[in-house]
């Protein structure tokens, strides 16, 4: 690994440097009352990873139950709760805040050359709102949990005897945390860019977070009112969604997916940003098609608002509406393909350095492409009628959410780990963990594509005997996947104690966060940076 040639150091080591943000203040209060975006980002990171563990345990329990048809470890009602909690925890407590609120909070102001986000108090408040939402979710889990599926479809959610209201309130509250983060990032991006940083000199991670923030701000309020109406429906029996008193359950689906489809892009677009940064850094090359990638994030954000009906092809919506939604769904594939092709083009003739973040990125390219292309199958009405609500759908969105977002998130975590913690993790263990997770992931979900095409419906407690081998294969895959993440956790946590000290720029990155110390001081930069070139421009070879 000798090909790393960090740019000539500007600051000599004998010059005293300001203390890192960890050392700038100490004590519990310095964390609980902090307005520093980096500390808030770290609190988010710890919370998100904790819930990732919780959601992961639910997933492993679900897969263990499905090892055999009929009863394996839990009864059918518990199984309903387990898959609902897996979905709700992973979507609302993990994936949505994962990249923006944790890595975004940590990195966005650094990449912009700012001292902090525009509204630091709002930032801290968004974290506490998140904690409050999480507490409601935990309350729901211990008081009977939810068995409606994470989508809360009526009439399940209006008739279920489980703790639906507290979970709905939890998601309602979590939504505000998401809105505050999005609002903050938009204002920060507009106002606090370093001198010289025009919009087209922003790193693509910033572009991605900007697009995501727009979706968060515009879509989440609609989820909020939907959930409020659902609570009103359960408490007051208003007759808007509940068919027993004249309500329309399809109206609920429209409301729900008007948020939840854009929410899919809240989950994946920040991942795109991470991938763009990592690929350019480890291919030692300016990103190919910078403007096209930046604009494709924005166009995904816009088109993403117009495709929600593709979740409802079998709900009885009109055929014309279905055709329009199907067509618009195909349109999303264009900006997405622009991104993938530009990433591949960036690799072409790059001098590729294979380190753990790059392995996750290559894994992402493979998995996300499968996830994206199978989305086109499902966006085709005639095929969707057969595959709707089968394991094919489950496999599709796991390839996008898990193979896409989570691989990008964990890749980004490795990429910025030295910057955040000031430590290097064990490269070998990182590589092995990545490979294990990649193999485990494909075992778990590739088999589910096959199960889906053979007619295995999602969310079923039991199944025909003929599906048993593939189910067992998938369950074993999930254990391998779990093992991979366990190794990742060991790799990262052990680095905190025994990792080598990280230099300012261990990967040879070109964006601004690599121009300050690792970890950065309280207000990020010793001297406010001035930007004179594009984010991925590399200095020409020395003469």
């Amino acid at each position: 690994m000798t090909q790393f040639s960090p740019p000539t150091p500007l600051a000599q080591d004998d010059r005293p440097r300001p203390p890192s943000f960890y050392k700038a203040a100490s004590g519990l209060k310095s964390w609980l009352y902090t307005l520093d975006h980096k500390r808030i980002g770290i609190m988010y990171l710890v919370s998100v990873l904790t819930f990732f563990l919780v959601g992961g345990v639910f997933a492993l329990l679900v897969r263990t139950e499905l090892l055999t048809p009929g009863h394996t470890i839990v009864d059918a009602n518990t199984y309903n709760r387990l898959f609902t909690l897996h979905g709700a925890v992973m979507v609302f407590l993990v994936i949505i805040p994962s990249v923006p609120a944790s890595l975004g909070n940590l990195i966005l102001p650094l990449q912009l050359g700012a001292k902090d986000v525009a509204f630091p108090r709002l930032n801290l408040m968004s974290y506490y709102v998140y904690v409050c939402g999480a507490l409601f979710a935990l309350y729901s889990i211990v008081t009977g949990a939810v068995d409606t599926g994470w989508t809360f479809y009526t009439p399940y959610s209006t008739t279920s005897q489980t703790s639906v209201i507290s979970m709905t309130l939890a998601v309602f509250i979590l939504g505000f945390s998401s809105i505050f983060t999005g609002l903050n990032f938009i204002a920060t991006t507009h106002s606090l860019r370093a001198p010289g940083m025009t919009f087209f000199r922003m790193p693509l991670f910033v572009w991605a977070l900007y697009a995501t923030s727009v979706i968060q701000v515009l879509a989440t309020p609609v989820l909020a009112i939907t959930l409020l109406l659902l609570i009103a429906e359960r408490v007051l029996h208003v007759g808007i969604f509940d068919p027993a008193i004249g309500g329309d359950p399809v109206l609920f689906q429209h409301f729900f997916w008007f948020y939840s489809h854009p929410a899919v892009y809240i989950m994946i677009v920040p991942g795109f940003g991470i991938i763009s940064d990592i690929i350019s850094c480890f291919a030692r090359k300016a990103i190919f098609g910078y403007r096209a990638i930046a604009m494709s994030s924005i166009s995904i954000a816009i088109i993403g608002f117009l495709v929600w009906g593709h979740h409802m092809f079998t709900s009885g919506q009109s055929e014309l509406a279905g055709m329009i939604f199907s067509f618009l769904t195909f349109l999303v594939a264009i900006p997405t393909a622009i991104k993938v092709l530009n990433w591949v083009a960036t690799l072409y003739k790059g001098s590729i350095v294979l380190r753990t973040p790059m392995w996750y990125t290559l894994g992402f390219l493979f998995l996300f492409t499968i996830g994206g292309l199978t989305g086109l199958y499902l966006g085709t009405m005639s095929i969707d009628l057969h595959l709707h609500d089968t394991y094919f759908v489950v496999a599709h969105f796991h390839y996008v959410m898990m193979g896409g977002t989570m691989f990008a998130f964990i890749g980004g975590l490795h990429y910025w780990w030295p910057k955040i913690t000031g430590r290097m993790y064990n490269e070998t263990l990182g590589n092995i963990a990545c490979l294990t997770a990649f193999i485990g992931f494909n075992m778990t979900f590739m088999s589910q594509f096959v199960l889906g095409t053979q007619g295995m419906p999602r969310r079923y407690y039991s199944y025909l005997d003929q599906f048993q081998p593939l189910h067992a294969f998938s369950s074993v895959g999930s254990y391998v996947l779990g093992l991979g993440f366990l190794m990742t956790a060991i790799c990262l946590i052990s680095s905190l104690k025994s990792g080598a000290k990280a230099s300012d720029n261990p990967w040879g990155g070109t964006t601004l966060e690599w121009k300050t110390s690792s970890p950065p001081p309280l207000e990020n930069f010793e001297e406010p940076p001035v930007v004179t070139a594009g984010p991925y421009d590399r200095a020409p070879a020395q003469h």
Binding site: A219, A232, V238
Partner: protein
């Protein structure tokens, strides 16, 4: 942020991470506009639900809305429009260093908000009394029990829309009142002057939105036709 360093000559009042006070003010206003967009989208769900049921149950909506008193709604509309005017004048006096006038205008705005809520209280208690309520399932205190709309399908859904829309709006009025009180308190303390008054402006923006939403709610609920 807002209580950050206030230099002696009261010229600047900026949080440490903004290079200029002007940028802080501009950014805060941008943030408030984004927030107002989220508020409109929050209400949009209710407007959609209203539209869907007004479309499918047009006759019921027409019959049920006649149980609302449009005169009370009109009075409240006037009160809120007037309060928007006093709010705007309050912002203007903060900008021109007229502290007493700022406090006075904010107080009038606050009183208008109280008047609005008093009228709403009488409307709500009347509905509780006659049973024009949102509950579609009999046997609860909030169940629809009114006799007189027989022959119309699920009239409780109209009153569900009414209570949810005006209730959520009423909640915004209360939050607006807290914000106005906060701005008054800071005016009395003497925080604002012609170079630093954007917090009053933010409260004003929010209050105008609260009024604007009511201006849509009034015809939709009271003047169905």
């Amino acid at each position: 942020m807002s209580t950050a360093t206030l230099s002696n000559n009261r010229e600047y009042h900026q949080a440490h991470h903004f290079p200029t006070a002007r940028l802080e003010s501009e950014t805060s206003k941008l943030g408030m506009w984004i927030f107002l967009a989220t508020e409109i989208l929050l209400f949009s769900g209710l407007f959609m639900a209203y539209s869907a049921y007004r479309y499918t149950h047009a006759e019921m909506f027409k019959a049920a809305h006649q149980l609302l008193d449009w005169k009370l709604g009109a009075v409240n509309t006037m009160v809120l429009i007037f309060s928007s005017l006093t709010m705007a004048l309050g912002v203007r006096s903060a900008q021109t260093n007229k502290r007493g006038a700022t406090i006075g205008y904010l107080l009038v705005t606050l009183l208008c908000a109280c008047a609005f809520l008093v009228v709403k209280y009488f409307e709500y208690s009347h509905k509780l009394h006659v049973g024009t309520l949102p509950g579609g399932e009999p046997g609860h205190w909030f169940s629809y029990t009114y006799k007189g709309l027989e022959g119309y399908e699920q009239p409780w859904t109209f009153f569900g829309c009414y209570f949810l829309m005006t209730g959520l709006h009423g909640l915004h009025v209360v939050i607006g009142m807290i914000a106005i009180l906060w701005a008054m308190f800071r005016s009395i303390r003497g925080d604002f002057h012609s170079k630093y008054y954007f917090p009053v402006e933010l409260v004003g923006l929010y209050w105008h939105l609260v009024d604007l939403i009511w201006i849509y709610l009034f015809p939709l609920l009271y003047l169905v036709g």
